[in-house]
Each structure stands twice: as structure tokens, then as C-alpha cells.
């Protein structure tokens, strides 16, 4: 087990290294300079600025420096935001993003599990149809559309929640709902499929033949077995939540990293884009890693490996 985790961590760094390299050279391939949209600088000034950022060096040297910096946790310096180190930028903005991201994922997962389970147990009834409909809506309506609608009706028109403010829990409600729709839909669909599968398996039949009532069968046997595979979609869910957060943060003016990312795109702030790319990748690979380890921990079939003997 320890060996497996170690191997996976090694892979994590290898992948990150490859991503950093590709990102770096892609950024260097960009036409023009990163300062083209700033106030016109004279050639002399430009040279000074370039030297300041180390852009006068050969690309290879820049690359070595950049990677070297990465190992010390240095993601470079922003061109735009008061020359702040990117790491610092991320640090300041991480908390709000994490809060709504985590809230949305937890809310989406719990509701999704309930919805999917109920749909599977009452398969082909109106409950199932309703649940399917809700989950399809969750998957189909883009988070930014949902966010705009929520903002307009719940905040602007009916004043239930603040329009765009970031101070207390109240202000996180709407963005959380907007972000939770997609994971909710995905989890509900996944859960329904898994549970339908489990409910038609032989061991459920055996559980019924023991004299378990319908609900006992579900609680004691079906739920656990269909919940285990849910772990596998946490990773992809994190990806989509992250995607959604970029626009949702923008719409609700939340000072998070998603909003920062979109801002740096529109201002061609390459170091920040690079830094955030690597940071996001790191985050996701980490999530995938944790999920894999979690899976090994909760599924007895994997945990105990090949103990079978006759």
C-alpha cells in the first residue's frame, strides 16, 4: 500500500513536470510580448522591463529558472497585479474558491445520492421520472446560465440573497447552488445506474431470501455497494466544479482564483495563467490521487488483495 502511494506521488510530480514544461513552451510560442496591451513603452523601457522579468535571457535559461522556481514553490510573478508573486495571489484568493467549491460538491453529492437511490428503488415510477428530469436539468443547464438566473430572481428581484457580495455565508448560497447543479445531476445519474445494477444482483436476491424487508435490503446491502463506485466520480466532479467556478465567481464577483484566472486571460497575464494552470493541475491530480487511495481503503475487494485460498 505504502509502495503504491509512493509510486503514485512520484507519478504526480512527473505529470506536473510535463505539464509545466508544455505550458512554459506554449506560452513562449505566443506572438508578440506580454506587454503589448500595456501603455506603449519605448524600446529602452521595454528592455528594462524585460530584463526585470528575465525575459532577455535565452529561452532555455528562462525554462531552467522557471522549473527551478517551481521546486521552491515559486510560480513566477504576475505582470499585471502589482508584480505580486503568483503564489501570493493564489494564497489570497484560495479560501473563497475552496469554500464554494467544497460546499457545492458536498451539497451536490448528498442530494445526488439521495435522488439517484430513490430513483433506482422506485424504478419506472413517477419518482424515477422526476429524479431523471431533475438530474438531466442539472447536467444540461450550464452553470453560468443558472447563476445569472439565480442572481436575477433570488437576489435582484426578490432580495432573498445578496446580489454580488463576499462577506458571510449568506453570500455563498447562490454560487453554491449554481455550482452544485452539475455534480448533483451527475451523481444522481451515476448512483441510479449503480444502484439498479446492484439491486438486480444475486446477493441482493440472497439478502431478500434471508427475510430482509425491502428497506433493510437497501440499507444493509444495496447502499454500501452502490456508494463505493461513487468515489470514482469525485475526480471528474472536481474538474467540472472548477470549470464552473470560473464563471460563477465572475458573475457573483467573488474574489476567488477562478475569477482571477479569467481576469488574467483577458489581460494576457501569462505568468499568472501559467502559475494557475500548474496550480489547478496539481490540485486535480491530488484529488485523483486521494480518490484512488480512498477507493482502495473502502473497497474490501481491493484492500485485501489476493487472500483467497482453498
Amino acid at each position: 500500500m505504502a509502495k503504491y502511494i509512493l509510486k503514485r506521488i512520484l507519478y504526480l510530480f512527473l505529470t506536473l513536470f510535463i505539464i509545466a514544461t508544455i505550458t512554459f513552451f506554449l506560452m513562449k510560442m505566443l506572438p508578440g510580448t506580454p506587454f503589448s496591451n500595456q501603455n506603449r513603452l519605448s524600446p529602452d523601457q521595454l528592455a528594462i522591463v524585460k530584463a526585470q522579468y528575465g525575459l532577455d535571457q535565452p529561452i532555455f535559461i528562462q525554462y531552467i529558472r522557471y522549473i527551478g522556481g517551481l521546486f521552491q514553490g515559486n510560480l513566477g510573478t504576475s505582470f499585471q497585479f502589482n508584480n505580486e508573486p503568483v503564489t501570493q495571489l493564489i494564497g489570497q484568493r484560495l479560501a473563497p474558491s475552496m469554500q464554494i467549491g467544497a460546499q457545492a460538491m458536498i451539497l451536490g453529492t448528498i442530494l445526488g445520492i439521495l435522488l439517484g437511490a430513490v430513483a433506482a428503488i422506485r424504478k419506472n415510477s413517477w419518482v424515477d421520472t422526476l429524479a431523471t428530469f431533475v438530474s438531466i436539468l442539472g447536467i444540461s443547464i450550464p452553470s453560468f446560465v443558472l447563476a445569472v438566473l439565480l442572481q436575477f430572481y433570488l437576489a435582484y428581484k426578490w432580495h432573498i440573497y445578496p446580489v454580488a457580495l463576499w462577506d458571510n455565508f449568506q453570500s455563498s448560497v447562490l454560487p453554491t447552488i449554481a455550482l452544485a447543479a452539475l455534480p448533483l445531476g451527475n451523481v444522481a445519474r451515476f448512483m441510479r445506474t449503480e444502484m439498479v445494477d446492484v439491486l438486480s444482483s444475486d446477493y441482493i436476491e440472497l439478502a431478500k431470501s434471508k427475510g430482509n424487508s425491502e428497506w433493510q435490503v437497501v440499507i444493509k446491502h444495496a447502499l454500501r455497494n452502490s456508494l463505493i463506485p461513487i468515489v470514482t466520480i469525485i475526480g471528474p466532479m472536481a474538474v467540472s466544479t472548477m470549470t464552473g467556478s470560473m464563471v460563477v465567481e465572475n458573475i457573483f464577483s467573488i474574489p476567488g482564483i477562478g475569477e482571477q484566472f479569467v481576469k488574467s486571460i483577458t489581460t494576457n497575464d501569462y505568468p499568472t495563467i501559467m502559475g494557475l494552470t500548474i496550480f489547478y493541475s496539481f490540485l486535480l491530480i491530488l484529488v485523483f490521487l486521494v480518490v484512488d487511495i480512498l477507493y482502495v481503503l473502502i473497497d474490501p475487494r481491493i484492500r485485501l488483495g489476493n487472500g483467497g485460498n482453498d
Binding site: 505529470t15 510535463i18 505539464i19 505550458t23 506554449l26 510560442m29 505566443l30 431523471t132 438531466i136 436539468l137 447536467i139 444540461s140 443547464i141 450550464p142 453560468f144 446560465v145 445569472v148 438566473l149 436575477f152 435582484y156 445506474t193 439498479v196 474538474v239 472548477m242 470549470t243 470560473m246 464563471v247 465572475n250 458573475i251 484566472f261 479569467v262 486571460i265 483577458t266 494576457n268 495563467i273 494552470t277 489547478y280 493541475s281 486535480l284 491530480i285 485523483f288
Partner: protein
């Protein structure tokens, strides 16, 4: 027990031995695809979705004929007009607008020429919103279809080769897939969009470059199963070449996976296009896509909600219909999954 009275002549032996009737098949010949079609058309939801999508595709294809106005023609004087459906007085579609708490005929206010109707109103540049939505849908669908095609062209061969060869080849190919998929796809798309010139091709490439991984993974997993199927083994013992096995045995049996996955790739591509346009790095102006329309509409949503409602509804319908059709197809291809 009483013994039934039966006429004696009924007890003659029929000499059934060697009766060829025993090998007769009673059921009508039905190919697999016919069966799938039959099941699909029995599913009402899928039929409705299929119809909706057909209509939307039809309108997109014939956009130049159907759209009432040039989608990019600006009329500065006729900007931000609300929807008006002829002279019919339907609330919301009568050209009236709430201004300072009073409903005012917006068309009269800007002195629009008589007989000027914009079914879904105009935007801030006075462009006809309906025409822009029709063209926008067309562009979004083109992006989705092209991206999906590229996706198939990379994903299917990649998956088949990886699954069929197995061993070292598979190992290397899977490492590549792992790396590609561990970079969040959105970031790849954004990076691509920054590097490439914004436009149709870049968007298609950017979406396809991340999406093929899912397809390749599915196809590989299926190929792994299929290659152990006895009919594939039989083809090998008959000396069939690998390419022939792929075209005769693998692809036809992968077709359901491919079709179903495609139905989930299309909405995904539509979403990405809309997303990119929404954050401002998608389709460049003045061309419209559903994403740019949404983005424009969002800015004016508080005052002119119709400008966002219309594209939002169309986008959601396309997404819902493709997703539901995908579900319907899955049930039709794999009857066990539904009952």
C-alpha cells in the same frame, strides 16, 4: 382419475422422426439495427428529443433562408427593442417595455417604421435577435459536430490500437492518456485558445484535443473485452488479418458505444463553446454563437431579460435533448439496462 374419451383414430403415430420442421425458425427476420430502431421509437421521450433536434438542425442548415434579417446588420436607432409578434397583443411579445414603472410601446418611441417586427427583439446594436440566434445555433452546432468528428477520428483508432495490441504498446499509450487527462480539460482549451487565433478552427481543435481521451478510454476497454470474445478468436484461427478483424468484428460491435458516447460528446462541445464565448475568448465578433449571445444577454439581463432568455432556452433545449436522446439510445442498444 377418469380416462378421457378420445376417438381412436387420434392415436395414430405420426412418425415424427427426421422431421425437418424442428429446425424451422418461426420469428420474422429482424436485424439488430431494426430491433434497436424499434425500441428507440417506442421510447416517447427519445422520439420527442429526436424531433426537436431534427427541427433545430433543419433550421440551422437552412439559416440563410429561414432567418428574417441579416444577423450582423446594425440599426443604431432600433437598438434594444423588445419582442413583437406582428400586431398580436400578447404580453411580452407586443413591443411594450417597462420604463420607469410604465409600460411603453418601445417601437413607437424609436419611431420604427410601420410593419417593423422583431420576433425576439433586437440587441444593443439594433440587430435582430432571432436571426442572430438562428445563426448562433448554427455556429454552435458546427463547432459541436466538427469537434465530435475530430474526437472520433482520434479516439476510435487510438482506443482500438491500444486495446488490441495490449502489453507494452498499451502501457505507453495509456500513460499518454493519463497525462492528457490529468490536465484539466478547460485549461487545455483555454491555453489553446490563447495560443491559436480565436475562431472556429481553434475552438474545434481545443475541444477535440481534450475530449478524445474519454472516447479512447471507452473504446479501449471495450476492445479489451471484444478481443477475448470467441468470435474474434475464431476469426484469428481462420487467419483473418488484424485490420479486417477491426473493420469486420470490432467496429460493428463498438458502434453502439460510439453512437452513445457521441451523443454525450456533442452537448459537452456545445457547452465548451458557450463557456469560452461567455468568458470572452470564443467566437470573435461580429459572428454570433449561443455563447456570445448569452454573454451579451447577461450584461443587459437586469433590464432586458429577453436578450438572455431566448439563447439560454435554446441552449438548454439542445443540451437536454441530446442528453436524453443519448439515454434513449443506450436503452435501445442495450435492452437489459432499461428493464
Amino acid at each position: 382419475m377418469e380416462i378421457p374419451q378420445i376417438p381412436k383414430d387420434k392415436f395414430k403415430l405420426l412418425n415424427n422422426a427426421g422431421n425437418k420442421e424442428q429446425e424451422k425458425i418461426g420469428t420474422p427476420a429482424l436485424t439488430y439495427m431494426q430491433d434497436v430502431r424499434r425500441r428507440l421509437f417506442k421510447n416517447k421521450v427519445a422520439v420527442v428529443c429526436l424531433t426537436l433536434l431534427t427541427i433545430i438542425v433543419f433550421i440551422s442548415v437552412f439559416a440563410p433562408i429561414i432567418a428574417p434579417y441579416n444577423p450582423n446588420a446594425q440599426h443604431a436607432t432600433l437598438s434594444n427593442l423588445p419582442p413583437k409578434l406582428g400586431n398580436l397583443n400578447i404580453p411580452g411579445f407586443n413591443g411594450y417595455q417597462n420604463m420607469g414603472g410604465k409600460m411603453v410601446d418601445a417601437y413607437a418611441q424609436v419611431h420604427a417604421p410601420k410593419g417593423t417586427y422583431y420576433l425576439l427583439g433586437t440587441d444593443y446594436l439594433g440587430r435582430d435577435l432571432l436571426s442572430r440566434i438562428i445563426y448562433g445555433t448554427r455556429l454552435s452546432l458546427i463547432v459541436a459536430v466538427l469537434a465530435t468528428l475530430v474526437d472520433l477520428l482520434i479516439g476510435i483508432p487510438y482506443g482500438i490500437v491500444s486495446g488490441w495490441k495490449g502489453g507494452m504498446t498499451d502501457n505507453v499509450m495509456q500513460r499518454i492518456v493519463e497525462i492528457v487527462s490529468s490536465v484539466p480539460n478547460l485549461i487545455v482549451v483555454i491555453l489553446m485558445m490563447i495560443i491559436l487565433k480565436p475562431g472556429l478552427i481553434s475552438i474545434v481543435l481545443a475541444i477535440a484535443i481534450t475530449d478524445w481521451v474519454t472516447m479512447a478510454r471507452l473504446i479501449r476497454a471495450q476492445t479489451f473485452q471484444l478481443k477475448e470474445q470467441e468470435y474474434v478468436l475464431a476469426a484469428r484461427t481462420l487467419g483473418e488479418s488484424s485490420t479486417k478483424i477491426a473493420t469486420k468484428h470490432l467496429i460493428p460491435n463498438l458502434s453502439s458505444t460510439i453512437i452513445i458516447q457521441t451523443m454525450f460528446t456533442i452537448p459537452n462541445a456545445i457547452f465548451f463553446e458557450a463557456f469560452l464565448s461567455f468568458i470572452g475568448i470564443g467566437i470573435p465578433a461580429p459572428n454570433a454563437s449561443l455563447g456570445t449571445l448569452l454573454s451579451d444577454g447577461q450584461k443587459a439581463f437586469r433590464f432586458l431579460p429577453y436578450q438572455m432568455w431566448a439563447p439560454a432556452i435554446i441552449l438548454s433545449i439542445i443540451m437536454i435533448a441530446t442528453n436524453l436522446l443519448g439515454d434513449g439510445l443506450r436503452d435501445a442498444f442495450d435492452p437489459q439496462s432499461s428493464d
